[in-house]
């Protein structure tokens, strides 16, 4: 866990009082809605279909139990008793009142949580691997660097009014859980031949109506230069990014229009001017940030404790353990993913009661730490294996032990037309229906790893382009129509999905997904061949045939 010091606390408090003043000026009419809009967006406040929506940052997906309790408190006191975890390590509250927002922010500030730059055309919440610091093959904890960049990008005096939003993600494992290739800047932590830490820097990834996979702009930027290199990218973007058309304003379009070679030359020129400046970070600065991250005092525990051996007799426990428990870098411990995708539920929602109870469980079993992943699930990062059976029982009582992590019902979905003013179609009801169709755990297990991502409009908040099966809701002649893609993925081999054919109606979506899945089960060479691999081997044709043969 990163502990704020007095400096961080002061800044967050100053931000809250600034926002209180801005809300006051809006309510008195001193600020027009047009002027206020940008200011509220800088603090994560959107105006949605029914009410204001409030998006709170969970930088690099790490939460302490007192912070999770504070989120529960906000859900209970200022909202309707629940919150929605997003695909970028944020939580959203959908029913907040403008006049109460400063109080909600103040309550969160007390535990070091803020909503700065969770929306608006600025540098957004820095995201990372939800298994950071505990994944077995990790090079080093990417959260140290995430925190450095979080600080550097907070209230940046030059880059707070960019052409468009700007997102940075960092990973330090071979398997990319942070989806860095669909970010404006993706950083892959690596070591050079001298063993020094640095980053492969990728740029220009993003989804939306013109999706791009990020390209490598530099193979190695030394850790001490990472802030100046990011600053150089941002300075080029701030000056030359398009501002005439919001759909062409993301950095991916600039990179695409200039070409990665020309873009990288521009950045290199800029960087040479600023790399030997006060932006250079020495080891001591990194050590200082590292020193404010606390790590658990792990015990020396057996690899296979008796508790686990005994519990193995219970098939329900085993189903959950095999699905939701992952290896930890320390022997005797596990990483437990907590599915927020119960059958029939909206993906990523948690009630205030669940959040409070989970905080208690994290105190008891996970050294007081909770993680949030971009798949809209939570994780307990340090659970002793001997505690797994007890934890499972407790989670099950809370409705938080659905054993569907990475399976077909572990769906990513945006809020869609149920909440969002930009949406053209519903997302959540599609997800809910699919979780009912594939509720049978044996069936889901038989299918194996398969990610369905759903967006209710072209803005792609549900990451449909990179779903193994992607579902995009659009509006056609006043009706919701869904376009289906297959073969996308968001990991280290990120790819955009391919459209299988004409859009289908709301009522047909779940049937189409069933058809695709049946085709896959019939086509796969062996049970270990995952959906993605079958699509890669055969292309979309056989799936297309199957879906449209009878339609």
């Amino acid at each position: 866990m990163y502990a704020y010091d007095e400096i961080d606390r002061t800044l967050v408090n100053e931000r809250v009082s600034e926002f209180r003043d801005q809300v006051k000026r809006r309510l008195s009419g001193e600020l027009t809605e047009d002027e206020f809009k940008i200011l509220r967006l800088q603090n994560g406040v959107y105006l949605q279909l029914h009410a204001y929506m409030f998006r709170v940052a969970i930088p690099y997906g790490t939460l302490a139990t007192n912070q999770l309790r504070a989120l529960a408190h906000v859900a209970r006191k200022y909202d309707r008793g629940y919150g929605h975890f997003t695909t970028r390590q944020n939580i959203q509250f959908n029913w907040i009142k403008l006049a109460e927002l400063p109080d909600a922010l103040e309550d969160l500030a007390k535990v070091g949580i803020h909503a700065m730059q969770t929306s608006g055309n600025n540098m957004r919440n820095v995201t990372s691997d939800q298994w950071a610091g505990v994944a077995p093959s990790e090079i080093e904890d990417p959260r140290i660097w995430s925190e450095l960049i979080r600080q550097h990008t907070t209230l940046h005096p030059e880059f707070s009014f960019l052409p468009r939003k700007f997102k940075i993600a960092i990973t330090a494992s071979d398997h990319d859980r942070a989806a860095i290739k669909i970010h404006d800047i993706g950083l892959r932590l690596i070591k050079n031949e001298k063993g020094e830490t640095g980053f492969e820097v990728l740029v220009g990834g993003g989804l939306g109506r013109t999706p791009f996979i990020a390209k490598t702009i530099k193979h190695f930027v030394h850790g001490r230069d990472i802030l100046s290199y990011i600053e150089a990218i941002l300075r080029v973007y701030n000056q030359y990014g398009r501002r005439d058309n919001i759909y062409k304003a993301r950095i991916k379009i600039l990179v695409h229009e200039l070409g990665i070679e020309k873009f990288s030359r521009e950045v290199e020129d800029e960087w040479q001017h600023i790399r030997n400046s006060s932006l250079q970070i020495d080891d001591e600065v990194i050590e200082d940030i590292r020193s404010r991250f606390t790590y658990p005092a792990y015990e020396k525990l057996p690899h296979m404790p008796d508790e686990l051996r005994q519990a193995a007799a219970d098939p329900d426990f085993e189903a959950w353990r095999k699905n939701s428990v992952a290896p930890h870098k320390v022997q005797g411990y596990s990483i437990v993913t907590i599915s927020l995708k119960p059958t029939g539920g909206p993906p990523g929602d948690a009630t205030a009661e669940q959040m409070d109870a989970l905080a208690d469980l994290a105190d008891k079993y996970s050294f007081g730490e909770i993680r949030v992943g971009h798949e809209q699930n939570l994780a307990l990062p340090h659970v002793a294996k001997r505690d797994l059976p007890a934890l499972w029982k407790a989670l099950d009582k809370l409705g938080l032990a659905t054993p569907n992590v990475n399976l077909i019902t572990d769906i990513i979905a945006c809020p869609g037309l149920d909440y969002c003013s930009l949406a053209n179609a519903r997302s959540i009801p599609i997800a809910q229906e699919l979780t009912r169709r594939f509720a049978n755990h044996e069936l889901a297990n038989l299918i194996g790893r398969l990610h369905i991502n759903i967006s209710g409009c072209i803005n792609a908040c549900g990451h449909h382009h990179v779903g193994h099966i992607g579902i995009l809701g659009v509006e056609k002649n006043g009706e919701e129509v869904y376009q289906i893609t297959i073969g996308g993925r968001a990991d280290e081999n990120a790819a955009l999905g391919t459209l299988i054919g004409p859009g289908v109606k709301f009522d047909e979506v779940a049937d189409v997904v069933e058809d695709i899945v049946e085709a896959y089960l019939a086509l796969r060479e062996r049970p270990e061949e995952l959906f993605m691999d079958t699509v890669k081997r055969l292309g979309v044709e056989p799936f297309k045939e199957r879906v449209y043969a009878t339609r």
Binding site: H152, L155, P157, S277
Partner: protein, 171 residues
Amino acid sequence: MPLVKGGKITADSFVKLAVDTPLPEGGDILVPAERFLGEADSLLNRSGKVGVIWPNNRDISELVPYLGKIAAVALVFPTFRDGRAYSQARLLRERYDYRGELRATGQVLRDQFVFMLRAGFDAFEVKKQADAEAFMQTAKRYSVFYQPTGDGRITALHRRMQLRHSEGVGT
């Protein structure tokens, strides 16, 4: 539109010229970039100060040969959502070492003051009277800054290093 300089509302000595306004005999003038570049010699030879109004989509390095001779650069925020002039301001101050007046013009509102001060602006054509009156108070909103810029404010990282070292002496 009130001008804030040195933290307070002051009279503006500069007169803004359009591309085709006849040149006044004396007095301080602010001239559009195009005209300035075309008539630089004659403009700089007259009595009275000369400043340039520089658009936010033109390379600021074109102005470098003249920076020692002009009294003011006015950068433009066509809307406050358009942040290109922040980069131009920092380049002028931090790369080209410009020390004259750096003026923010256009849609300049209260909630940008801190960013603008940090980027190097020292004069502000403020859109609303109430915002201009609140300048000093608003400028003091923040006491913590994470990024190093040319304004010399101590960054959080720097302050932490100072703390570390001073603690180190005692132990």
